[in-house]
């Protein structure tokens, strides 16, 4: 009656002769697909992410792309196994199939291999997060960012302050002149920084938790009561980058926009000097002349 397989249990494997071949084919295809990408280096597919406009963002992008590729390989493999089972082992007769339950070598393999993959991912993660979180000893510029319900304030050395509020109808007006294209990039106040240099951000809040999030910098950080967060942004190219609050902070959370304006260093310096001059002239003492972005 039942087929007699007169061999030891070790050979009675759930992996049929078909599966290893198929799996090899899949792995081969995956390798063939990823190899040119890996070799291509900078021409990694973006998988909908931003390559990033800061040095820190580039580091994150490499990690993201690499992790996505690994996830795709694993995902396609496992999905293929599921799909294969569903198609190939559809009920064909009333015969009760072989009632096997264990295969220790296989189980050990699919325990150990994921641990190895995970440890490799962890290694890359630690390297990248150290680079992203690293702060230089002497940044070119320091800005204190204060988040509040529902706007942002940027304080520069020399009593220069840029503030913006948002209401139900933000009006995008700013010093960025004609750089806002599309205009939607310039909602809220502008955080002006020098391109190609490192800017030290000190992030605080006046009230609840807010999130400082610049999508194209692949970066966000909380502004939290009782905590002062410090991080560096090294914007590579001049331009305008939209940003907004990302941690629920109350009624107008959706409208708490700002944007980052990266100017060539000379232009940035002249802007800052003129702001500092205006601040000193305005009152002579510590008043903050705001170059207010009236988000009316």
């Amino acid at each position: 009656m039942a087929s007699v397989i007169a061999v030891s249990p070790r050979a009675a494997e759930p992996t049929s002769t078909i599966a290893p071949r198929r799996r090899r084919r899949l792995l081969g295809a995956a390798a063939a697909a990823t190899l040119p990408l890996v070799l291509g280096g900078c021409s990694l597919p973006t998988f909908y992410g931003y390559k990033g406009s800061t040095k820190q963002a580039h580091d994150e992008f490499l990690l993201y792309s690499g992790t996505t590729i690994a996830a795709l390989v694993v995902g396609v493999l496992v999905a293929a196994l599921i799909a294969w089972s569903v198609i190939r082992y559809r009920k064909r007769s009333d015969t009760i199939p072989r009632q096997f339950q264990y295969h220790i070598p296989l189980e050990i393999t699919y325990t150990v291999v994921p641990v190895v993959i995970v440890l490799i991912l962890f290694g890359f993660t630690v390297v990248t997060e150290n680079r992203v979180d690293a702060v230089k000893a002497d940044p070119a510029t320091k800005v204190t960012v204060t988040a509040f319900q529902w706007g942002w304030r940027f304080d520069y050395p020399g009593n220069v302050s840029v503030t913006g509020l948002t209401t139900e109808d933000p009006d995008p007006v700013g010093l960025d002149g004609g750089q806002c294209a599309p205009a939607v990039d310039c909602l809220g106040p502008g955080l002006v920084v020098p391109a190609g240099r490192t800017t030290r951000i000190t992030l605080v809040t006046k009230d609840v938790i807010h999130g400082f999030y610049v999508p194209q910098f692949n970066f966000s950080r909380y502004a939290q009561p009782g905590v002062t967060n410090v991080f560096d942004l090294t914007v590579q190219h001049s331009g305008v980058y939209r940003a907004q609050c990302t941690q629920l902070c109350g009624l107008y959370h959706s409208l708490m926009f700002f944007h980052v304006v990266a100017l060539p260093p000379a232009q940035f310096q002249s802007w800052l000097s003129s702001q500092q001059g205006a601040a000193t002239a305005a009152s002579g003492s510590s008043s903050s002349t705001s170059n207010t972005k009236a988000a009316a």
Partner: protein, 578 residues
Amino acid sequence: MTVLAERPVAHEHEHDHEHHEGPSGILKWLTSTDHKLIGMSYMVTSLVMFFLAGIMGLLIRTQLTSPHNSFLSFQQFNALFTMHGSLMLYLFAGPFAFGGLANYILPLQVGAPDMAFPRLNALSYWLYLGGSVTMLLGFLVAGGAAAFGWVAYAPLSSVEFAPGSAPDLWILGIALTGFSAIFTAVNLVTTTFYLRAPGMTMFRLPIFTWNMLVTAILILIAFPILTAAMILLFADRHFGTHFYSVAGGGVPILYQNLFWFFGHPEVYILALPYFGIVSDVIPVFSRKPLFGYKGMVFATMSIAALSTGVWAHHMFTTGVVLLPFFSLLSLLIAVPTGIKFFNWIGTMWRGQLVFSTPMLFCIGFLFAFLMGGLTGVMLASPPIDFATHDTYFVVAHFHQVLFGTAVYGGFAGLYYWYPKFFGRMYRESLGKIHFWLLTVGFWVTFMPQYVLGLHGMPRRVASYPSGLGWQSLNVASTIGAYIIGLSFVFLLVNLWVSWRKPVPAGDNPWDAHTLEWFATSPPVHHNFERLPAIRSERPVWDYHHPDARTETHHNGHGHVTEAGVAEAGVGADAGDKA
């Protein structure tokens, strides 16, 4: 009146089971301590919460179809996503699993007449119902329901930034449902440890029971911490304390630490029961035992253990957590989860797969959780999390995993055990339509959200700028959500038709494996009049198919043993150790 339950004698003898007299009608509902009735009450109530929360989700998605939509005000929107999340997580996914399905099924699976503490069990239900009503009362008070997100971070949830009674009702609702969960967990652990039938050793328990046991331990670990966090929050709001406010010398981030020490185990409390359902259903519809039973048990324990050490991966962007510790443990959770996946595949491998509705839902779960789990691994890496935290990438991730488990897994369980609950069959064709519509809707809803998140759309926003190309993705997502909604109409029609025109189901329509399928459909009072001999984790399969028992190493050379029942009691027991 109190009944002293007797262990049913061996399967040859039937004895006169005392006919159970008792109240009927509404008094029966109010006074019953029968785990089956309590479980059914939980299931009905939690499904009502599911549908309410689903409607809230549809409202949210409707608002987001256009960039500056005025369908909802900002206040209404914030309240809706708060309550959508709160209802789904606190009032549906958990209670449906451990209060509903586990309450009904676990005593049956271990061969017990009821839960260990029947009155405590009933109290759990009433606390759950009271807590749910308390939370929902927020919609009726001035100012509308709580609007600070289902996590209610301090200081946004302080009385200064969230005045009014609705936040207090929300906090108190959580306190009541939290105690409900703790009492249920006590019952689950005690029943599993003390009320098993003879021969039902721990390593012969069905995986659903194992998962419920582990879930119960997680509940005991996590829910008291949530209660503590809520008590401190309530005290800050009303008794002048300053646990979470800087001005009084407090530490706001303490709230996040406490909340997420609960919050991360909570999502595994929500997931593990549904993993257990899938682990019970797939073997039945593959006509094979679960592959790697022991590995499954240890994988479940590992997932639970690791899940309590990863709480601060929700706090990576705070800047004050120990990143490597939390990211390493979070990444490691992928390993036992992967083991489970391979074991499920191994179960189907070389099986004879039947694609009835429960099995379809399990396959749907596998694909949904595969992708959701992999994006979770990505989020475990802090730099990637910095870029995607609080964006729609995370929203898509957690919906895939929660939907995969609670919805796909939950309805797999509902369709699977439906004949046991009611003694009748649902309509298979309607079940299949439900599945396919749900699946189309699910993927259409959440795939665009990954892209939205990567392009910078934050979560919890009631409007977004036009001109960024986000609208078409949002519209697609909303269409998917409505398809999901439509699919549930078919479920309701199925339930209605199956009730009005019943098709009797019998005790074991699926030729299933575990002990609940030996009871009648529905089970009699105190569940079992007879029990089969228990020699493996599939006592009912062994009883009906003594010549097709699980192969063990004792069996030697790949033979399927023929002796079966006669050998029982000696060495060749399938896959167990005392």
